[in-house]
């Protein structure tokens, strides 16, 4: 048992750190450190820089052109990117659909889709949730009917994150109504330029349109876009979920945001207020404890000696912490978090923000935005059901 990283791991971290510092555009990291809005171009610019280096698919095995890093290396990469103020990698392509294509797609699909994902050229979206299928995802109704060498897709997806930018979407669709709901689902890749697709952004409480509704009206999809076998899509989707373990805790970003919280608390004069400062101290302990939990999972993955089935705990705790730091930042600003001025949340705004500190402009919006974290990806109540099963059976 040893807390320290090995010399090789430290050297790896230094290599990543040096590269990220040299290649992450400052105008992007400035926005991230200030929690200002990122445009599609900001996000894709960083994706392409990573893609060119071969690190956008940083979790990929070498066989598919990835760096072949182990769990600890992946974690160190994520940490260096987060602390440097890199935008989060939009996960739908490189982190979510690519592993499914690698595991269950055929050679033709792999050759066709993976290069565009690895380079960051093609923007992917996720088509899982539906208006009637939230936590109960398997109840989804969007139909895909096989007609010759095509599927005809009809239905509606929703909460499609950044779907307004999407060029391709991977969908769970119903291909059978027989048997259990899970057994009639297929995994289909759909070109979002196909006739019959309508995307409508949904304005959220933070004023942004981060998610969308996507309608499918007799959309023709070539049958060759089916991943694996018909009616096996649920299994593939579960594989995708199990692929995401420690990343969901987002502890590296939490460490960066804790630094920002302290800056805000100092600027707003509450750093020396014991009552407020203790709340930051509690959060600091929460973050260190979460980081230790993440490191335990990584260590278990690295050695393969023991498995730690605590993905549910990581999701619950990580999301609670994300909510907490945005809440404390807003509370630190106090009355000066009340003005809700959209232009002031963008980089480069030259107006006068009430109270004079434009850093406070996005705090309420950030707080509102983070309410999603305990709802998405399996709500925290669903996660508690899963966790309780590991204890009680």
């Amino acid at each position: 048992m040893d807390l320290a990283f090995t010399p090789e791991e430290l050297a790896f971290r230094d290599e990543i750190r040096t590269w990220v510092r040299a290649n992450l555009p400052k105008e992007i990291s400035d926005k991230v450190h200030a929690a200002q809005r990122l445009s599609r171009d900001d996000m894709q610019r960083w994706s392409k820089i990573l893609g060119k280096k071969g690190w956008l698919g940083y979790g990929w095995p070498e066989q598919f052109g990835g760096p072949g890093w182990n769990a600890v290396q992946k974690h160190l990469f994520e940490e260096e990117c987060a602390l440097a103020g890199a935008p989060r990698i939009v996960p739908f392509g490189p982190v979510m659909v690519a592993p499914v294509i690698m595991a269950f797609g055929n050679a033709a699909q792999q050759q066709r889709f993976l290069p565009g994902i690895a380079s960051g050229e093609v923007w992917w979206s996720q088509g899982y949730s539906e208006p009637g299928s939230g936590s109960d995802l398997a109840s989804l109704k969007t139909r895909a009917e096989r007609k010759g060498d095509k599927y005809i897709v009809n239905g509606q997806k929703t909460w499609t994150t950044l779907g307004q930018y999407g060029e391709w979407i991977f969908c769970l669709v119903r291909t059978s109504t027989e048997g259990k709901p899970q057994t009639g689902i297929s995994f289909l890749l759909i070109d979002m330029k196909s006739p019959g697709i309508t995307v409508r952004p949904i304005k959220l409480l933070d004023g942004e349109c981060e998610v969308n509704e996507v309608w499918f009206d007799n959309v023709e999809v070539p049958a060759e876009n089916l991943i694996g076998e018909e009616n096996k899509g649920w299994t593939y989707a579960k594989h995708l979920l199990s692929h995401e373990r420690t990343n969901i805790a987002d502890v590296n970003r939490a460490k960066r945001e804790l630094e920002r919280l302290k800056r805000i608390a100092k600027a707003e004069g509450v750093w020396d207020d014991t009552r407020f400062r203790d709340e930051i101290a509690k959060l600091e302990v929460d973050i260190v404890a979460l980081e230790m939990l993440v490191l335990r999972v990584l260590s278990a993955e690295k050695s393969g000696k023991n498995s730690l089935d605590i993905a549910g705990l990581l999701k619950i705790r990580g999301s609670e912490i994300q909510q907490r730091y945005t809440e404390l930042m807003m509370q630190a600003a106090g009355p000066f978090a009340l003005p809700f001025i959209f232009e002031a949340m963008e980089a480069g705004w030259q107006g006068n923000f009430p109270g004079g500190v434009v850093a406070n402009a996005p705090l309420a919006s950030n707080y509102f935005n983070m309410r999603k974290t305990t709802i998405y990806g399996g709500s925290n109540e669903v996660q508690r059901n899963i966790v309780s099963q590991t204890v009680l059976g």
Binding site: M1, D2, L3, A4, F5, T6, E9, V72, K255, L258, E259, K262, T274, R277, D278, I280, A281, K282, E284, V285, I287, V288, A289, L290, E291, M292, L293, L295, R296, L298, S299, A300, K302, S303, K305, N306, I310, G312, L313, I316, R317, E381, Q383, R384, N385, V387, S388, T390, V391, L392, G393
Partner: protein, 371 residues
């Protein structure tokens, strides 16, 4: 970075667990509580397993092991809510080994390792609360012989231990002394604590003692941090068993014709207990792995760990009683004893609010496991 236990560490765990399961069941524990909260015979059995010499170097007849082995042992003793104060032995042997002059080491460490001498820390004073720098006991030197006067509270097995490690002011500076219980002017009055263990009010009047170190503040902080790491590990063991007992009960107890484990409101509380347990286990690892870190880093880490553990122990203990219902508040059933042990641990070597204050005061611009 590696959180696997070695084969030797797993064997150590198995040996202690076996002793707890076979040699220290609930009935024996209850008998020990009824007889005053401490059983020298049980302590001797721990010593026979080598545990009293866990920290003592091999030169002095011990096992020469480190904080991870100590953590493993304390977890297992926690699972059995063992009353005998092995944590005190770990503290005393570490303090003596690091700070005492060679002759003091060679006269005491072999006896500590063998279980013949039980040495405990006697630092708590009425006016100090959790602050380690507040001390009224005074030491005087005359003709090469030190004497100490003062009184200490809640000294673990204070009326039965063989000697004390005593902080006292020597010329205004805190120093640590080793004092035998049999020394002239020592009085000890024993009683039970919340968890059924034994403690005593101890007073000294010009009692002869031997100087361990003049660097008393530093040494006492080290002692308290080792004690805190023991609290963390022991707490993890207690919580682990508490959760197991609770889960078993919930799957057996039926209401409305179904096991109460089927009710979602109760299941979610269990999920929250599991969360607290795993966060606590993580921070217990962190505490033990930071014990040898430079002082500022060590103190910060231990305060963080104790804040986490304090909240976890309170939540898990209270929840276990609640989930059991009426049987949970009886003395007859085992879970209330686990709850009381957790309650006492939270207030040992600083309570949760105290440690929060330490974390708060020590915050830097950046924070994480490695800083």
């Amino acid at each position: 970075m590696d959180f696997d236990f070695s084969e030797d560490q797993e064997q150590l765990r198995d040996a202690v667990r076996k002793w707890v399961d076979k040699g220290y069941d609930f009935e024996r524990r209850r008998a020990i509580v009824n007889a005053g909260g401490f059983d020298r015979a049980a302590y001797t059995e721990l010593a026979e397993l080598g545990l009293a010499g866990l920290y003592v170097s091999e030169d002095h007849g011990g096992l020469g092991m480190g904080p991870v082995e100590a953590m493993v042992v304390m977890e297992e003793l926690g699972r059995g809510i063992v009353l005998e104060p092995l944590a005190q032995t770990l503290i005393a042997s570490a303090v003596l080994q690091t700070h005492a002059p060679a002759d003091l080491q060679s006269s005491w460490l072999p006896r500590i390792a063998g279980g013949e001498a039980l040495v405990v820390l006697a630092h708590q004073e009425r006016g100090a609360r959790h602050h380690l720098n507040r001390c009224k006991a005074e030491a005087k030197e005359a003709g090469g012989q030190w004497t100490v006067s003062g009184s200490k509270s809640i000294v673990p097995v204070g009326d039965q231990a063989d000697a004390f490690i005593v902080p006292a002011l020597a010329g205004g500076q805190m120093a640590l002394f080793l004092m035998e219980r049999g020394a002239a002017g020592v009085k000890a009055e024993g009683y039970l604590t919340q968890d059924g263990a034994r403690a005593a009010e101890v007073s000294f009047a010009n009692s002869p003692a031997q100087l361990i170190t003049r660097n008393g503040q530093t040494a006492l902080e080290e002692a308290a941090d080792i004690g805190s790491a023991c609290v963390c590990a022991e707490g993890v063991g207690v919580m682990d068993k508490t959760l197991a007992i609770t889960a078993e009960y919930m799957n057996t107890r039926k209401q409305f014709n179904v096991p109460i484990a089927s009710f979602q409101a109760l299941r979610h509380r269990v999920a929250d207990m599991k969360m607290q347990l795993e966060l606590a286990r993580s921070m217990s690892y962190y505490a033990s792995l930071k014990i040898k870190a430079p002082e500022a880093e060590r103190r910060q880490a231990l305060a963080r760990a104790r804040y986490q553990l304090g909240n976890a122990m309170r939540f898990v203990g209270q929840s276990a009683v609640q989930l059991h219902g009426g049987i949970g508040v009886t003395d007859e059933y085992i879970v209330s004893h686990y709850f009381k042990k957790l309650t006492q641990l939270e207030m040992t070597f600083g309570d949760t609010l105290h440690h929060l204050g330490e974390v708060s005061a020590r915050m830097q611009d950046t924070a994480g496991v490695f800083a």
